[in-house]
Symmetry: C2
Subunit: 310 residues, 2 copies
């Protein structure tokens, strides 16, 4: 029997995923064809990008899993026609890329790279910079990505605090939960990193009030999802001098519109949604793993809790 | 009995070191006075900066240890009057600062921070950057600092190679030694980090020939010692397009003279000797530790091998 796997994603990525997934499954003794169209009633798995043409899951009566290509599921989790198991992409390449991006920008702010890379006055000021151990990084969201970043930042010597909806425990991380916990987590943060899932509850988590809980001179990193920041409040906090800087990788509209005030703001760095880029090779391996698990009767990894929304 | 500890270092740091060292020793039950001048025949230890007024160690007949305030000993190790044990500064603050600087600049080059922080055309190019696991960092010098940086870079996912005079073995690091080893270590390096001791043998280790062993598009980080780079060869390698960039923290003359071609070179970033800054509090703790060891008849840590020069 040959598995029918529908690829509902970007045309440009089709061949790469097809080859990697078919080869990976064949190595495990599973025959499969990855195709771009097929009789829905005969589809076993869907490799899925939420912005693809597939929006009605009703005809996929035999489908045993919808394998999301994105880490975020906010654009599919509310689809009422989706009754099949939905799994998030947890791509080791994506995780490492995120760890690299978050660690790099934390160190950039700690050591004031921007002052060194743009120094037309040739200023030589050898005051020792702070050590990572002098700074606290607070991570909002302690899922797979938040956890991995926390571990990496601890290795660099940072003090790390974290906040999540449900109370978590992670070695070496001061973990907080709930509204009071958020205030405490923000209070002593030199850098706040946004890695929350995108749900109605996390929209605008960074607003005028919560920015007020951060100490003066703090920094924001947003490699998570755009809507978590109230854009105008962030710009206000920069302009009044309360915040020292922000590096943003995700936005409500992408590419970020050319007339958006984030562009060209002296305290804001825009990066083009690269922190959480899925890498085809490592992502395909994780799709293959989950299909093998399901075919062997094991639960798939990273299944989405539909009631929580992530 | 009270220990007499001569402080031969910068005036501005005297009081801080005096207080930290006297308090630290008192906590261990040792009475000590840290002073800026004393009868040499009665001095037990010297806390020493190689650029201080003390250059003749002959009269310090009772001195049991010269505790260098710098990680580098090249300016004292050749002093023929020095017969007392000499120890290098291994300051946990200095080590962490170095790890932060090296990791940060490796990630900066990997993720092209400079293109993002200076982007007047508002270019949005979301091609996924390489992962740290796609790049090799080669560390020249595998002493305490090189070893710590290797470990941190491995944690960030980089492939790490290392080169040292004597063959070493470090988990996860491809270790090389000798002239042939140097060539191999440089061959596949995306980034080369210079952390060798400053000896006549390491001068100009980065020259036209060794730069030629690096692949096109590589980067150099020098947080070690200025003379290890042949400045003109480095600039040539930038101007011909062979190297993509360099970040230099140390120079033959510091501050770097205003008319030096490194300043303002579009591919070179100058940082003001901050990577290996000794932090008074953590450095004082390591001085205290060594004095306690010596008073208890234990060998001091980080003693200099006078024949090797470091």
């Amino acid at each position: 029997m040959t598995l029918n796997i529908l690829f509902a994603g970007r045309e440009a990525q089709f061949k790469t995923y097809r080859d990697e997934v078919e080869t990976g499954l064949a190595r495990a003794g599973l025959s499969a064809q990855v195709v771009q169209s097929h009789d829905p009633a005969d589809v076993d798995y869907i490799i899925y990008a939420p912005n693809s043409a597939v929006q009605d899951f009703t005809p996929f009566t035999k489908c045993r899993g919808v394998l999301n290509l994105w880490a975020g599921v906010e654009k599919v989790v509310g689809n009422a026609t989706l009754t099949q198991p939905l799994v998030r992409m947890v791509d080791p390449g994506l995780t490492l890329g995120m760890v690299n991006w978050v660690t790099g920008h934390c160190l950039r702010y700690l050591l004031e790279f921007d002052r060194m890379t743009h120094n037309p006055q040739q200023v030589w000021d050898d005051t020792p910079p702070p050590l990572a151990s002098d700074w606290q990084v607070t991570i909002l969201g302690l899922g797979a990505l938040g956890h991995a970043c926390a571990t990496a930042l601890i290795h660099q010597g940072f003090q790390v605090a974290g906040w999540s909806r449900r109370q978590k425990e992670i070695d070496g991380v001061a973990c907080y939960a709930g509204p009071d916990g958020l205030r405490t987590a923000l209070n002593n943060s030199n850098i706040v990193v946004l890695l929350l899932p995108d749900t109605p509850k996390t929209e605008h988590v960074i607003n005028a009030q919560t920015l007020g809980h951060m100490p003066k001179g703090g920094f924001i990193l947003n490699p998570g999802r755009g809507p978590q920041i109230e854009d105008a409040a962030l710009i206000d906090a920069m302009n009044t001098g309360h915040l020292a800087g922000a590096t943003l990788d995700v936005f409500r509209t992408e590419p970020l519109p050319q007339d958006h005030p984030f562009w060209g703001h002296p305290k804001i760095t825009v990066t083009p949604h690269i922190a959480s880029a899925t890498r085809t090779n490592t992502a395909a391996a994780s799709l293959v793993d989950n299909i093998i698990r399901c075919e062997n009767g094991q639960p798939m990894l990273n299944q989405v809790d539909r009631s929580a929304g992530y």
